[in-house]
């Protein structure tokens, strides 16, 4: 009796250890638990108004894919705030989806983790060739000289949204083409509790996107040729200061904008609290806030001076979402088939049409459905005056460090503390020192 208990206890202990290690060390199998070639797991980023809306949009398409190929796709829509962490966890554990969406600015950072399957010539052949994609969108798929870590899925660019009625009331005939004009117009429009411009000061990514564009226009790059951060050059400081000054010096944006991080600036623009907004494809959001398409116009994001050329003529980052294949997938063929399906002309038209974004696939982009006045402005920016954020491994850290520095500077400006060249430089210096040494 007693002895059997001993044996039982020992067996139990052994079993526990065995089962626990089995849980912990199962890196050879795919996390989605599908060894079957008839199933794929897809992590979609949140593109529509809600996770449910995305599911409603994507599910019929996935059914279509299943009908064509016999491969069932398990869908999970992941909110943006969680996506990078989830991808990191997947990269660390080797357990993740087969196909996933990534923000295109993360391409080089995620490429460096080695968690994504490179799109070599063969992979591109399998999905119909590299030439099908718009070249600026391909520029945001990984570091230069390496096989892309992803392919473009949805493209976006920044435009200047302006309220037609407020402009007419203030006697402004045309949207501003330079920042000086924007500030002058903004001052005219800032009165009676309304402001000329809405900014999203607490949103790290928004901040960085604008820092990048202003930086290009001032001739600043945030990384040197060897990939080392150069945040504190006079040009970079001037660029960041110019953007913070919308609240600090020009006072054309409401101080309250400094804490906006949940797209409140879009709501402010839609409800007439602000007359201008710098945003990527805001159409569907404005509609959901009750603003009619005829009430606003979309113009190119301004330049420093009229007739800008070269880098000073950059007025948008190449914004968008990419589609990547997880390296540890055990169904490469199926995954590539799925990528081919999602980037096919028909799906591109349908999905981008639903989300209000631009197809990065040439054949789809030329479809008349995307020739609306505002999308034409964005497509023009994307084709002619957009540049990808630095495709370096530390890009995601750059977004956080500089975005946070700018958030703090906005907080100072909103609280009435002076924002000077020195204080901007100090904030950027602190951001630079947070960057990993490598």
């Amino acid at each position: 009796m007693h002895i059997t208990r001993t044996t039982a206890a020992a067996t139990l202990a052994a079993a526990l250890i065995a089962s626990a290690t089995a849980c912990g060390g199962g890196s050879s199998t795919d996390g989605s638990g599908n060894g079957s070639p008839k199933e794929l797991t897809y992590w979609a980023s949140n593109q529509g108004a809600s996770l449910e809306a995305d599911k409603a949009t994507l599910t019929p398409e996935l059914k279509k894919f299943e009908k064509q190929t016999g491969i069932k796709v398990k869908l999970e829509v992941i909110p943006w705030s969680d996506l990078l962490n989830r991808i990191l966890a997947a990269a660390t554990s080797g357990q993740g989806p087969d196909v996933l969406n990534i923000g295109n600015t993360w391409s080089a950072s995620l490429q460096a983790t080695g968690a994504l399957r490179p799109f070599d010539a063969k992979a591109f052949d399998a999905i119909g060739g590299k030439d099908r994609f718009v070249s600026s969108a391909l520029g945001a798929t990984g570091a230069e000289g390496k096989d892309p870590a992803a392919v473009p899925l949805y493209s976006l660019a920044y435009g200047l949204y302006y309220n037609k009625k407020m402009f007419a009331d203030a006697g402004i005939a045309n949207p501003p083409a330079t920042w000086d004009e924007l500030v002058a117009d903004g001052k005219k429009l800032t009165k009676g509790g309304k402001y000329g411009l809405a900014v999203e000061g607490g949103n790290l990514s928004e901040n960085v996107h604008h820092a990048f564009v202003f930086g290009k226009q001032h001739g600043a790059d945030f990384f040197d040729a060897s990939g080392k951060p150069t945040f504190t050059t006079p040009e970079a400081v001037a660029a960041v200061k110019q953007y913070i000054d919308f609240i600090a010096k020009d006072k054309i944006a409401a101080p309250g904008n400094a804490e906006y991080a949940a797209n409140q600036s879009v709501a402010d623009f839609a409800t007439g609290k602000a007359a201008m907004l710098l945003w990527q494809a805001a159409g569907s959001s404005l509609k959901s806030h009750g603003m009619k398409p005829e009430d606003y116009g979309v113009a190119q994001v301004p330049f420093q001076a009229a007739g800008a050329s070269g880098d000073t003529a950059v007025n948008s980052m190449v914004a968008g979402i990419n589609l990547a294949v997880f390296k540890k997938t055990d169904n490469v063929d199926g995954a590539l088939k799925f990528v081919k399906f999602m980037t096919s002309d028909d799906e591109q038209k349908l999905l981008n049409g639903t989300y209000g974004s631009l197809p990065p696939v040439k054949a789809a982009q030329s479809d008349p459905a995307f020739a609306t006045p505002d999308l034409k402005v964005l497509a023009d920016a994307l084709a002619n005056s957009a540049a990808p954020l630095p495709q370096v491994a530390n890009e995601s850290q750059f977004e956080t460090a500089v975005g946070t520095a700018m958030k703090d500077l906005f907080a100072d400006a909103a609280a009435g503390k002076p924002v000077t060249t020195e204080s901007v430089k100090a904030a950027l210096e602190k951001a630079q020192q947070q960057m990993p040494a490598s």
């Binding site: 002895i3 001993t6 206890a9 968690a115 804490e259 491994a393 850290q397 956080t400 703090d408 990993p436």
Partner: protein
Amino acid sequence: MTATVPPVRHSSKTPSPGGRRAAGGRAPLSRLRLPARLRRASLPYVLLLPALALELLIHLVPMVVGVVMSFKELTQFFISDWSAAPWKGLDNYRVAVDFNAPVGEDLLKSFLVTCEFTVLAVGLSWLFGTAAAILMQDAFRGRGLLRAVFLVPYALPVYAAVITWSFMFQRDTGMINHVIHDQLHLTDGRPFWLIGDNSFYALVTVSVWRQWPFAFLCLMAGLQNIPRELYEAAAMDGAGIWQQIRRITLPSLRPVNQVLVLVLFLWTFNDFNTPYVLFGRAAPDAADLISIHIYQSSFVTWNFGSGSAMSVLLLLFLLVVTVLYLLATSLRRKDA
């Protein structure tokens, strides 16, 4: 000790040591050629094995992994195979405690903010909890309802509760500014609560709101154990309410308070949820708690080695404080 254990009945049934039936590798444990005495002596340890194995898996392994990581240069280049990351020796630690360089300076600043925050939040939670527990002792109409209401903050899911606070703290649309500025005219302009220096007070407010019901609950239970006769006797001797609290209530609650303050300290010092939900991944400098700071160092800037080093330092600090605290409180009890 084992020698004094009386022989167990079944021992006579097992083959004697060296018996032929024990031969062969596949024999179960009971048939092994161990002397009966040794077998009995080992029994407690065998029984402890499952617990030991689980303890190893749940606590020690991750801790060792964390410590190993802290000696490595672990960036995104190595996260899919972190064992391949190059060794960095003590560099991560050196950088973390070099208070003249930016990383160390920020860590120290964040540590000091956390200390200040912890003292304030624990102190206030304890004060409110004690006051409420004492007031709730006497039966009155609606006491049960009030007790239940007091526990609501503790029962609410953290995320839902804190996100509600973050709405209330919004500068332009939040309820807090509506009350203190629009209605009571206490401030000149609308202050910011979620960015800038005020964020510290916003954080303390939410933290106290979340924690004090726990103090209240513990102290209420503690109060039940104080005999009513003590108060009756004290009242008879002419002791007022304050004297009763000072001479009877607080000393009787000391054992509860010892545990309570320690637990509150550890929770508050390590609190991650409250600042994260309130401020997002980039907390304002004034409210840059150490947990958020370490999270940002490791997960947001993807420098896991440096983040691990900071975590190990934090763990050591909390261990030292806890041990000192336990020593101090248990010594006092021996003196008493």
